[in-house]
């Protein structure tokens, strides 16, 4: 699983990468996940069901991330604009 973040002026960067089945790597992924939420990021998991339409799910904790997900994308939280 990769944790990516949409970075202004840069595109995505890889924050962490690891195997959720390896306890040590999972712990690192969880720590980075929480750190990003603390920084005010939103997290989404792109999903691609077999034969289905691609969509995304918002996740608010690492436990919400499907074990089989290959990436979680962090991005700045949406705020009202254009005033």
């Amino acid at each position: 699983m990769k944790l990516l973040r949409l970075e202004p002026g840069h595109g995505e960067i890889v924050l962490a990468e690891g195997d959720v089945e390896v306890p040590e790597e999972e712990r690192e992924l969880i720590e980075e996940f929480r750190r990003q939420l603390d920084l005010g990021m939103a997290a989404a998991v792109p999903t691609a069901p077999v034969g289905g339409r691609r969509q995304a799910e918002l996740v608010k904790s690492f436990e919400d991330v499907p074990r089989e997900a290959d990436r979680v994308i962090f991005f700045p939280r949406a705020a009202g604009g254009c005033r």
């Binding site: 990516l4 949409l6 970075e7 202004p8 002026g9 840069h10 595109g11 995505e12 920084l39 005010g40 990021m41 939103a42 989404a44 792109p46 339409r53 691609r54 969509q55 995304a56 799910e57 918002l58 994308i73 991005f75 700045p76 939280r77 949406a78 705020a79 009202g80 604009g81 254009c82 005033r83």
Partner: protein
């Protein structure tokens, strides 16, 4: 005699200084001004590097392509925006009365999301959201265009209601010329007709939740 020669030499040196030095002095001051501007630009994160921006956009496009449906990617690539159907699954679909008109959104990079009725080309409103709260490590605050579209797509796809709650809603025409939106809607219809054989557009466009 020697005194007169010395005085003349000093006078000549003074003249030479006046003639020769203004240029180096102005060159020095130009250099200082340039350095000052450079420092200011770096401090404010306003350095424009088209190469870096292009690389960022290419990265963002690759990520967008890997997340959205094939037809949606082609739509963005060809038209510069995405169309996302509104409320066609989950709670939205359940609540909409039978026979109610379908609605959709046009998702533009760094512009409001436009809600409209495809059947009548009626523009319902503009939803303004930004993702600029976090300044990037290079001092730039704007996501690349394709990342901005991806973030909106993920939010619409995952939680349409929440996105609309976050957005500032405005009447049509506040930010985007309604005539331009109608032209885009027609371009999209034409594009879908042309791409029909390639299963693009409505066949695999993701509805909002």
């Amino acid at each position: 005699m020697g005194l007169a020669l010395g005085a003349t030499a000093l006078f000549a040196l003074g003249l030479l200084w006046q003639v020769a030095m203004p240029e180096p002095r102005s060159a020095l001051s130009r250099l200082r001004r340039r350095m000052g501007r450079s420092r200011d630009s770096l401090a404010g994160g306003l350095v424009c590097d088209p190469g870096r921006e292009r690389r960022a956009e290419l990265r963002a496009r690759a990520l967008l392509r890997s997340c959205v449906n094939e037809g949606e990617w082609a739509m963005y690539r060809d038209l510069g925006f995405l169309r996302v159907w509104g409320g066609l699954r989950g709670e939205g679909a359940a609540r909409r009365p039978a026979g109610a008109a379908e609605y959709a959104y046009l998702v533009y990079p760094h512009k409001p999301i436009v809600a409209y009725l495809p059947q009548t080309e009626t523009i319902l409103g503009e939803y303004c959201v930004t993702f600029n709260a976090h300044a990037g490590r290079e001092g730039l605050s704007r996501l690349p265009d394709a990342d901005d579209v991806l973030a909106k797509w993920m939010l619409l796809s995952a939680d349409e209601r929440d996105l609309l709650a976050q957005a500032n809603m405005h009447l049509p025409g506040r930010q985007i010329d309604p005539d331009q939106v109608r032209r885009d809607i027609r371009s999209l219809s034409q594009w879908e007709r042309q791409a029909g054989g390639r299963r693009a557009g409505s066949a695999d466009s993701v509805p909002a939740s």
